[in-house]
């Protein structure tokens, strides 16, 4: 039971473990988009983007709405994006720390 949850969590992380999909998520955060709009915004081919959207859809991270020949996608679980932000903040801090270290070192070595 608890193991199922862990397996599911791992699957979700795997879905998040791709730069393009992360960019898709962050883009959708600013509102619903059609595939074409996303393709232009993120500079991805339709085929590739469509595949990634399907993967996000499968795990339930996004939802789709079809209207005419357009498909619109939106985030279904904003909380996951918040978790992403948490991670992102940690990484950003870590990077700036490293940057400051490098800066300090370059001063010492000059």
């Amino acid at each position: 039971m608890e193991d199922d949850l862990t397996a599911l969590q791992a699957r979700l992380c795997k879905v998040l473990a791709h730069p393009k999909r992360l960019r898709i998520i962050y883009a959708l955060r600013r509102g619903e988009r059609s595939v074409g709009e996303l393709a232009k915004e993120l500079q991805l081919s339709y085929a590739n983007l469509s595949r990634h959207l399907h993967i996000l859809l499968e795990i339930g991270l996004v939802e789709a709405r079809h209207h005419g020949r357009y498909s619109y996608y939106r985030l279904s679980t904003p909380q996951i994006a918040e978790a992403c932000d948490l991670v992102r903040r940690v990484l950003r801090d870590r990077l700036t720390q490293l940057g400051q270290l490098a800066h300090a070192n370059s001063k010492n070595h000059k």
Copy 2:
């Protein structure tokens, strides 16, 4: 620059995207452990566990301390574990909702 961050975030998610590694993280959350202790606790082979610990080490999620012939590992970034919890909570909620739906359906169909 922002893209580097996204790439890094994806790499981190990839590291988290494995049930065994998640279980390792949750175990270490309860305190530092030697490889042997972890192996017993999580029922993993030394070789496999060592590999996963190395992966976690590489990305900086855990830190190691060597004493005699033992290696002790501990979480280096508790905040990441918190992000994991956030995700986990969302999934747990989703699962119980599905469970209740299934339950309601079975009532309707009987």
